[in-house]
């Protein structure tokens, strides 16, 4: 007589056998399995930033993959690592995403050397999104500083594609120098969309620049809106969104009507590695999109 403990194989679980879908958060899945994807196009935006068009290869997974503006994915270069990148494209496109990536570290550096057809891995989408549904019928201020236009581009798409849902839309964008401006080939398109205003400001103009010069908060001086009927999405470095949001608060916009996206060091995207914790809050699960009131209540957030 002996006692044999029976092996348990997690792969026998029915839940885990379903097609990989990171939107089914509570369900057991292969959390570290990546969607096989392919870089289909690379657009050089500035010296430091490139836009990568990426397509999920498996038809079934591509069909399932959906995200909301503000969410991010983990991009994997097998052998070198994974990085969290917020999605810059329209959420209405199926199985195709665009990621604006700055050359900052190991994986992003290597991504910049990648050409179309490179097979990469994708996990996600992860995190919270900008609650655009709540903004129905209201004015929307879409404000970005520097690389902040990358996460803002997804809600810009949403707003421009669903303009009828909003009372008024205003895009405000500030960068250090004219050559740092992202997506400059799209400004004309945004401007021509009926009802969208676009204002751009740079801190350090070059000789060809004939637009606004100064800090982004200056652009807020000239605008008027019904503060109670206005929502704002503010993307950029903490020092920028702090100034902008405080300014908007002083102009009367409720802090819970302003949304920002926080950057932290995510290793998993699933609230497990703790690397992105702010106090007790997981940036990857409870964020990266937070309303400004919550941000002010997060200790060590800004």
């Amino acid at each position: 007589m002996s006692v044999i403990l029976h092996p348990y194989d997690v792969r026998d679980e029915l839940e885990i056998q379903k097609a990989l879908d990171f939107n089914r958060r509570k369900q057991l899945k292969h959390v570290d399995k990546v969607h096989r994807a392919e870089i289909t196009n690379v657009v050089e935006l500035t010296e430091q930033e490139k836009l990568f068009h990426i397509r999920i290869l498996d038809a079934q997974e591509r069909e399932r993959f959906s995200f909301l503006p503000g969410q991010f994915v983990m991009v994997e270069l097998p052998g070198y690592g994974e990085v969290p990148i917020s999605i810059s494209s329209s959420s209405s496109q199926k199985g195709h995403i665009e990621l604006c990536i700055r050359k900052a570290g190991l994986v992003t550096g290597l991504l910049h050397a990648c050409k179309p057809k490179t097979p990469v891995g994708l996990r996600g989408p992860f995190g919270t999104h900008f609650p655009l549904g709540k903004m129905r019928g209201k004015n929307v201020l879409l404000i970005a500083g520097g690389l902040g236009l990358a996460p803002l581009r997804a809600p810009i798409y949403y707003v421009t594609e669903n303009l009828g849902e909003f009372a008024d839309a205003h895009i405000i964008y500030g960068a250090k120098r004219p050559k740092d401006l992202l997506f400059d080939y799209e400004y004309e398109e945004w401007r021509r969309i009926y009802g969208v205003k676009l204002d751009i400001i740079v801190e350090k103009p070059d000789e060809k620049w004939d637009g606004h010069v100064g800090l982004i908060t200056q652009l807020l001086d000239g605008i008027t809106f019904d503060a109670n009927d206005t929502y704002a999405i503010v993307c950029g470095p903490p020092v920028m969104f702090k100034f902008v949001c405080n300014r908007l608060r002083d102009m009367g916009i409720p802090m819970q009507h302003m949304f920002v996206s926080l950057e932290r060091r995510m290793h998993c995207g699933m609230g497990k590695c703790c690397r992105c914790n702010i106090g007790s809050t997981f940036t990857c699960i409870d964020g990266p999109v937070f309303d400004y009131w919550s941000v002010l209540n997060l200790k060590e957030a800004i």
Partner: protein
């Protein structure tokens, strides 16, 4: 050997020895299971221990050992002028290494102690960066071949390599080792840079800090702890000075 469609560079590499034991150079020729791939990923144009080729058209110069004689100063300057990237390999090249200990003594006495009545030309020990600009330092006595492989893998694809910032304690704990202080031994594990996988503590020997200090290490507190546990300032200073990595922090 392409990586995801990216053609790695195959840099021309030369390895030169200065004052040191050449153990790090030997490390480069170790790890047989991946040696062929390692040597295949670079083009060795000058490396006394593995090839008879002697060429000067190198992109990367790897320096083993420290500077301790005047003729070495000239030689390293010459190498620096030819190399696009100059790598200081090992604790001697990075910090001066064990050789640096002699700087604490009268040089003539040290010379007599080692060479007796046949004194040799010798000066103060200096690390490579004290003489010429260094692009990368790989600390360790000896360096870890695995780490060197990873550095090369980054180099050939043109991306930066970063060393672990944590102290040796981190590696040590991951090997379930009982703290050597508990056995009454002095150990620099809590302030020395990891990445070595703590072979010394695993063998019952306290860490000697061959990789230099961990990022933002708490030296002041460490010394207080060591004193509290009965180690003399002299013992602690000797330990910190052994590889030269803590020079400037003390």
């Amino acid at each position: 050997m392409k990586y995801l469609g990216i053609e790695p560079a195959r840099p021309k590499v030369a390895v030169f020895d200065f004052t040191g034991c050449e153990g790090c150079e030997l490390q480069l020729a170790n790890k047989e299971e991946s040696l062929a791939a390692f040597l295949g990923s670079i083009e060795i144009v000058n490396f006394r221990e593995v090839t008879s080729t002697r060429r000067d058209d190198y992109d990367v110069a790897i320096i083993d050992g420290c500077i301790s004689r005047d003729d070495e100063v000239e030689r390293i300057k010459e190498i620096r002028s030819r190399a696009k990237i100059l790598v200081a390999m090992g604790s001697c090249a990075s910090f001066g290494g064990v050789n640096r200990m002699k700087n604490a003594y009268n040089l003539d006495d040290a010379n007599r102690e080692v060479y007796g009545d046949k004194p040799q030309a010798t000066g103060l020990t200096r690390s490579i960066k004290e003489v010429v600009d260094v692009d990368l330092e790989i600390p360790g006595c000896p360096v870890s071949k695995e780490e060197v492989e990873r550095i090369v893998q980054h180099l050939v694809l043109g991306v930066a390599f970063t060393f672990p910032v944590s102290p040796v304690c981190f590696d040590c704990k991951h090997r379930f080792i009982t703290c050597l202080f508990e056995h009454g031994k002095l150990c620099l594990g809590s302030i020395a840079r990891s990445g070595c996988n703590a072979p010394c503590p695993a063998g019952g020997l306290g860490c000697w800090g061959c990789r230099g200090p961990a990022e933002d290490c708490n030296l002041e507190q460490f010394i207080a702890i060591a004193r509290e546990r009965g180690f003399s300032q002299k013992e602690i200073d000797e330990r910190l000075g052994f590889f030269g990595g803590f020079e400037g922090l003390r």
